[in-house]
């Protein structure tokens, strides 16, 4: 009971915060909400299955680009729907062709996917439409963007909670441990992986679509920035990718640290980013939540 009520109260409080903060504060809120959503959506697929996807920005950028292309042609709701459909279709194609691959091959493919999508869009824009950048003029306030992102993030965490308790979640956990056992136990590997991958990708695409009005000017090298994939992975790992609240727990502090670093040390930002990432991999291999639990249990056992 308390597990449902507490998050709902927190959500209601978070929805009121924009009335209390400055524009700069609101920008931070949007950024934090975006990364909570991205990291949670990433973990929905990669957290349990251990299929490390470095393709987050392929979907995020596709979402943003969809809005850039369609924002004048269709009403906003229809644009979001299109973005979700395109992201889902892309994930389905990628999933059908690559999820049969073993771990490292999948990582490599996802690593290049964002670059491929970026190159294809650039090529298409330059050769077919003749423009590279596009402007997004939508009458959407920052507060509205924040509320949309908050809702998407909350929906992602709620969906993850539901998946974790469902047969799908159980199948994903088994796949993460041993695919051979999973198959011989009656789990349809391809179907389970594709469902989770598509769910995750649709959310990532929507996140890109919702934040896109904040860019105003969109071009492939901006919205397909690989740093976004990178940040998403490190945040989910820091908190614990196989825990419900892990990605959110990792996303908020790291986002704030990155914001601070990028405004104070713009030149050495990538260096610090790399060091932080390596630090997380070495110091928190199973995530903060799991490590705190082990520590706590260890203390308790030592006392007994």
């Amino acid at each position: 009971m308390i597990r449902t009520v507490l998050p709902l109260i927190a959500l209601a409080l978070l929805a009121f915060v924009p009335f209390l903060v400055s524009d700069y504060g609101l920008g931070l809120l949007i950024g934090a909400a975006t990364y909570v959503t991205l990291a949670s959506a990433w973990a929905l697929f990669s957290g349990q299955t251990h299929y490390i996807s470095l393709a987050t920005v392929a979907f995020y950028g596709t979402g943003a680009y969809t809005v850039a292309v369609l924002n004048e042609a269709l009403p906003y709701g229809a644009v979001l729907l299109c973005a979700a459909l395109i992201g889902g279709a892309m994930a389905l194609i990628v999933g059908l062709s690559t999820l049969r691959l073993r771990g490292v091959y999948f990582v490599i493919f996802s690593f290049g996917l964002a670059e491929l999508v970026r190159q294809l869009i650039t090529w298409y824009e330059v050769n077919v439409t003749g423009t590279l950048g596009r402007y997004i003029f939508l009458e959407i306030t920052s507060r509205q963007i924040y509320w949309q992102m908050l809702a998407l993030g909350a929906a992602t965490i709620a969906l993850t909670a539901w998946v974790n308790r469902s047969r799908l979640g159980m199948a994903l956990r088994v796949i993460g441990d041993d695919e051979t056992v999973a198959a011989h136990s009656g789990i349809n590997l391809a179907r389970v992986k594709i469902i989770a991958f598509v769910l995750s990708a649709v959310i990532l695409t929507l996140a890109g679509a919702i934040t896109s009005p904040r860019y105003v000017y969109v071009e492939p090298s901006i919205v397909f920035n690989p740093t976004i994939s990178f940040l998403t992975v490190i945040m989910a790992l820091l908190g614990g990718a196989n825990r419900l609240w892990g990605p959110a727990l990792g996303a908020v502090p790291l986002f704030l640290v990155f914001e601070w670093l990028s405004s104070n040390f713009p030149d050495s930002y990538p260096i610090l980013l790399g060091l932080l990432f390596i630090g997380v991999v070495f110091l928190f291999p199973s995530g903060l939540i799991a490590q705190a639990e082990t520590l706590f249990r260890g203390r308790k056992e030592a006392k007994e």
């Binding site: 047969r167 441990d177 999973a182 198959a183 011989h184 136990s185 009656g186 789990i187």
Partner: protein
Amino acid sequence: MSFLEIENAVKQFGGLRAVDDVSFSLERGEIVGLLGPNGSGKTTLINLISGALPATSGDIRLNGMQLTGLRRDRIARAGVARTFQLVRILPSLSLMENVMITAVFGRNTHWGDDAKRVAMDALDMVGLSARATAAAGDLTYIDQKRLELARALAAEPEILLLDEWLAGLNPTELSEGVALIRKLHQGGLTILMVEHIIDAVRALCPRVVVMNSGQLIADEATDAALSDPKVISAYLGGDVDA
């Protein structure tokens, strides 16, 4: 029509015929030993039946249903459960979850309390129910083997394929293991077991099939097979035709 029918099964790896035109069948409720020297194709045959490898040619039918060509998960849901020669457990899940998965995704697709009950019964059968909530990664080797068997049982299978499940047990554990398999057989389960421990085979299986170099060289009563010159020379490395 027999319960499990294997007809002219062939598995070719490049130039090697790991399973070479093997045919035999099992009746419902039968327990049969699958013998043969190392590398004779026993595990490959188990892999063909369970779908881990696609057969190059031939037919395998369970209860009249064609298994060849089906995916592993479809074969599992058709009622084929197996253990692995090198034991495979899910280290990050609890014993209960390890066993529950086949109840959930197997033939009868249980869920919730129903699945827990099936899993608990299976754990009980192998003597692990007291530790249902422990993490599987912490188990000893023998307990991992027990857990793997419990997982196969929770599938409520039509047929159980055991790939050297008794290997590596000490004498006490071995007699417990033999008693456990006997109990499963007496409960009506059809079992095909790859086994090297001849005493266990003698105690459990009235009938054996013997493979050598991919071919079936004997399919007869256990006592007859163990004194069959073809079988003896296969084990001793002599010429099969001698």
